[in-house]
């Protein structure tokens, strides 16, 4: 009410005029009433001035002006505090940005809270339930198997449940499709989506139209929807893309629309280039297999999302749907084992989309959050200590202000204003650091992965968190010093400067507590620094078992162009021979996947005849299993994998020749064979002659233990059709060993492929070294990040510890001076001072080690080749802190002991 008058009063000249008016009025009234008749006029005037003003705002203004002045007068102090807070708040905000984009931010669709993701849980995989690994995926957990893949017929269960679901839609991802338009072919990532997908998500097209149920028919429409970035990259603009005729895996399609720029499908972190109708899989792939895919109750391959009916909650829908899904899977079970372990349906929130990225990053994010949280606490402890030290030097000023009648609460408010101003300044600078940091983070994590997008950007949530952090820390590190500083006995403080100091020191003994706290917080971070350092060096020292340098990798999928059987084999071999004759090429081979393979299959194997060791069989009577790798001629020469016996594979190892296999040492070792060359290996009821023995190399991933591996000649697998585990590779990766930088070969290779078949798309052209780095990008990036954060914490805690200890020692200079004057030897003084401080350091150290035992457990997911409770690392961390504590004690103690006693005692 009449707030504008209040606002007017904020103007200094208006306020001064009003104050003058009150004084005049009261003087006039005093004349009329006579002296004393009005009582305490000064008080009345003071109360009246307060009417209609935002006094707190005026006082805040005063406090801010005062705080600004005092910040300007202590530039070094201000800079130190602001920088400390900026680093801590910046680190926290950057990590939060990451958390926000991966774990918290809802999908950019209509009412994301109503979305649910379907999952199922069972105790084990069963043989008749084939689960496609290429889609949303499955994982092993304590309760067995958790999966988000469903057979297509199960969609009927969800679509018909309109009582609880307003929509149910599904999709499947494909990593590589070849996309051709205007004589240019490239590799793209696509989603097959059901016709009701876009309607269910509730998004509108940016251009043209999105896919509709009519497109997703058993006779599907050959239409495609592009993502906004892809349409821009490929056609210049979204408008230009609509209506274009394109070829996807060499089949004609028409672009009918473009999705809005913020839409990235259902999974944060992966942006598909295009969306095809689910049933258009029948156009792109071999139709025979597809009928089975769409009709089989046993092939689990689509991810399912749904939208809840308004007013229905997730638990309610889960109860209803779980029952119907149970009835469905019970009808599909074929064996008693299956009937005993039917998948149970579970509904998870789909608000933030599918949780692929979450599964991958949730653990690391929690670990990093703990780390930056500790850093923030250390920063607060450091700054609190600095403020405490400053409060000591300001005790006279504060005593004077208390002496002339300033209220304690008013003083505390003013001191808090100062600390808040400092932390807010730190927060603003911290946001700049966070902005830079989150971009760097996204770049590191996305390095080399074309489809990985981390939507890490500053938004209002992030800004809010930064502001809240600044305010909270300002209060946290400001409150204790403010309470302490204003609890001064005025008279001694004014009479003798030391008096106030002693009072502060004695009352709460905050200093020593801070030292112990600082040490306790630092221990886990320094342990973490050690663990991350070791992890990084372990990751960089991984021996892949072959020479990763100077090898170019690329893949082709000639089967989409209709190559099959002998023609497919001829094309692969022709390309291999032509590549070998390129200048600068030393050797060329090919394999079904680049190494490490990232995935694949393994089968049970046997060796004919007696072997020195008979490997144990499992409960079902299977012997040891080996990983299958389908590779081409000269594979071991090209990869420079050392062979200890036998020969490399050759072009002669073809369908017409006897079946051969090269095994690795691990596999031979399982049977106790030194040299298995010449023996016969059996698997899938087929006999293979062992022609070579090769040293162990990575198979699936870099951070795995070594597997038994058998290398088959791809030429002997090419005619086997789809049925077997080692069937024809419809896609092969070429390995080209160059004499120098392999990437320089890229133009010549592209040219060669185009000449061989202009419709053949080149996928994943990269170098072997980059491919290996990419396989551990996440591990390296997170370990690097962890190391950086831990180093930041190490520096901050050492500086803080030094500051705290030396401040505590130097405050005793007067005591030391007196003892020196009474004849105590310098050495003894240094020792006794050091003993006291070290006792506090030790208390902190013990507490810190206890914290570490619990805290570092969260780091497990970020470590490689080292246990979180590595005793060496923990011992080294303790030693580092102890050294830091010793140095920061002895230097000021020695300085104090060598000072002239007279001056120390007389010192103000």
């Amino acid at each position: 009410m009449f707030w504008w008058r209040r606002l007017l009063h904020l103007l200094p000249w208006v306020r001064r005029a009003a104050d003058r008016d009150i004084d005049e009025e009261l003087a006039a009234l005093q004349d009329i009433a006579g002296k004393g008749a009005l009582g305490n006029v000064t008080l009345a005037a003071e109360d009246a001035r307060g009417v209609g003003r935002w006094l707190w705002l005026e006082r805040l203004g005063q406090d801010l002006r005062y705080a600004g002045r005092s910040a300007r007068h202590n530039k070094g102090f201000t800079a130190l505090v602001v920088l400390t807070m900026a680093l801590a708040i910046g680190a926290n905000t950057a990590i939060f940005t990451f958390t926000d984009s991966v774990l918290l931010r809802p999908l950019p669709v209509h009412d994301p809270a109503a979305l649910v993701v379907m999952k199922w849980q069972a105790k084990s995989y069963t043989l008749s339930r084939t689960i496609s690994w290429s889609t949303g995926g499955s994982s092993q957990n304590d309760a067995g198997v958790l999966s988000s893949s469903f057979p297509y017929p199960a969609m009927r269960v969800f679509r018909e449940s309109t009582d609880v679901l307003s929509a149910a839609f599904c999709y499947a991802t494909v990593e590589r499709l070849s996309f051709a338009s205007r004589n240019d072919t490239e590799s793209v990532k696509g989603h097959y989506v059901s016709g009701d997908y876009f309607a269910g998500m509730g998004i509108a097209p940016l251009e043209g139209r999105l896919l509709q149920p009519a497109d997703d028919d058993v006779a599907p429409a050959a239409v495609v929807v592009l993502s906004e970035p892809f349409s821009r990259r490929r056609f210049g603009s979204p408008e230009a893309a609509v209506g274009q005729s394109v070829r996807i895996d060499n089949k004609p399609f028409e672009v009918v629309g473009v999705t809005p720029p913020e839409f990235f499908g259902a999974e944060p972190g992966s942006v598909p280039d295009l969306y095809l109708p689910l049933q258009a899989r029948r156009i792109v792939e071999a139709p025979a297999r597809l009928d089975a895919m769409f009709e089989s109750d046993h092939y689990y391959w689509t991810d399912v999302m749904a939208r809840l009916q308004p007013g229905v909650d997730r638990a309610q829908a889960e109860r209803v749907l779980a029952e119907r899904f149970h009835a469905y899977v019970a009808g599909t079970a074929t064996t008693d084992a299956e009937r005993a372990d039917l998948p149970r349906l579970a509904l998870e929130s789909g608000r933030t989309g599918l949780d692929g990225l979450e599964r991958k990053y949730a653990q690391p994010i929690y670990a990093l959050t703990v780390m930056v949280g500790l850093i923030l606490l250390i920063a607060c402890a450091n700054v609190a200590n600095l403020l405490l030290a400053r409060a000591v030097s300001r005790r006279k000023e504060i005593a004077i202000r208390l002496g002339i009648g300033a209220g304690r609460s008013r003083l505390i408010r003013q001191l808090l204003t100062e600390s808040l101003l400092l932390s807010l300044a730190g927060g603003v600078l911290g946001l700049a650091i966070a902005w830079w940091g989150s971009h760097a983070l996204a770049d590191i994590l996305a390095s080399g992965r074309p489809h990985f997008t981390m939507h890490a950007e500053l938004n209002w949530t992030v800004l809010g968190v930064a502001a809240a952090l600044s305010m909270a820390t300002g209060l946290l590190f400001g409150l204790v010093p403010a309470l302490q500083a204003t609890r001064v006995d005025i008279v001694p403080a004014l009479k003798d400067a030391r008096g106030g100091d002693n009072v502060i020191g004695r009352r709460l003994r905050v200093g020593p507590v801070l030292i112990a706290l600082q040490v306790a917080l630092s221990v886990p971070l320094i342990v973490a620094a050690g663990l991350f350092g070791r992890t990084l060096s372990n990751l960089n020292a991984i021996d892949v078992g072959f020479n990763r340098d100077n090898v170019l990798l690329f893949s082709v999928r000639p089967s989409v162009l209709g190559y099959t059987g002998p023609a497919l084999g001829r094309l692969y071999e022709d390309l291999r021979e032509q590549l070998t004759s390129l200048p600068g090429v030393q050797a060329v081979s090919l394999s079904s996947r680049p190494f490490p393979m990232g995935g694949g299959s393994s089968v049970a194997v046997e060796i004919e005849g007696p072997t020195p060791v008979t490997p144990p069989k499992d409960a079902r009577g299977y012997g040891p299993s080996a990983v299958i790798a389908s590779v081409g001629p000269d594979f071991f020469k090209t990869m420079a994998m050392p062979m200890s016996a036998g020969r490399d594979l050759t072009p002669g190892d073809s369908t017409s020749a006897p079946r051969v296999v090269v095994v690795n040492r691990h596999l031979a070792g399982l049977f106790g064979l030194e040299n298995p060359v010449g023996r016969t290996l059996l698997f899938s009821n087929t006999r293979f002659e062992i022609v070579g023995l090769v040293d162990d190399a990575v198979a699936f991933s870099l951070t795995e233990n070594r597997f038994p591996v058998m290398y088959l000649s791809y030429l002997q697998t090419i005619d086997r059709g789809q049925a077997s585990a080692w069937s024809a590779p419809s896609r092969m990766t070429y390995e080209v060993r160059a004499s120098g930088n392999p990437m320089l070969l890229a133009p010549a290779v592209r040219d060669l492929i185009r000449r061989a078949d202009p419709n053949l798309a080149l996928h994943d052209l990269t170098s072997q070294a980059t491919h290996i780095d990419q396989a551990i990008t996440r591990e390296i990036a997170l370990a690097t990040l962890g190391t950086m954060l831990a180093l930041l914490a190490l520096v901050m805690s050492c500086i803080g510890l030094y500051g705290m200890v030396s401040f505590n020692v130097s405050r005793r200079r007067k005591d030391i001076g007196i003892r020196m004057a009474l004849g105590a030897p310098a050495g003894r003084i240094v020792r006794s001072t050091a003993r006291e401080v070290l006792a506090q350091v030790m208390v902190g150290l013990v507490a810190g080690l206890a914290i570490s035992v619990f805290a570092v457990r969260s780091l497990d997911s970020l470590l490689y080749g080292i246990e979180p409770h590595d005793p060496m690392t923990i011992a080294a961390a303790a030693a580092a802190l102890l050294t830091c504590g010793l140095v920061s004690t002895f230097i000021p103690a020695r300085r104090a002991a060598h000072v002239d006693p007279v001056r120390a005692v007389a010192q103000d």
Binding site: L29, V41, D47, G52
Partner: protein, 109 residues
């Protein structure tokens, strides 16, 4: 006897409804009108007056008194009058309610 907080403002409004007065004049008028049973501290009256002015229920202007002295005179505004009527009704209701509860002075037993 000191009037309650909100009551003081009501009394000031009622007093100013008769005629514009300066600050001290208001205190005196209330004292007289209550047949000298209500004494008002100037220290409470003056800030209350400023509050009423801020709310816009009274307005003030410098003027010269009958004795030729300059002082700030307060008068009721239209909003103030409306407010006074409302308060008046509420007060009547409140006072009679209290009266019903309190009744005649109880006998000592």
């Amino acid at each position: 006897m000191q009037p309650l907080h909100g009551v003081l403002e009501m009394l000031v409004l009622r007093t100013l409804a008769r005629q514009p007065l300066h600050g001290y004049g208001i205190a005196k008028a209330i004292h007289l009108a209550s047949t000298e049973s209500i004494g008002i501290e100037f220290g409470s009256l003056y800030p209350a007056l400023k509050r009423l002015e801020l709310k816009g229920w009274v307005a003030s202007a410098w003027d010269t008194s009958d004795e030729g002295r300059r002082a700030k005179y307060y008068r009721l505004t239209a909003t103030g009058r409306k407010k006074l009527n409302q308060e008046h009704a509420e007060w009547q209701e409140f006072a009679s309610a209290v009266e019903r509860i309190m009744g005649p002075v109880p006998e000592e037993s």
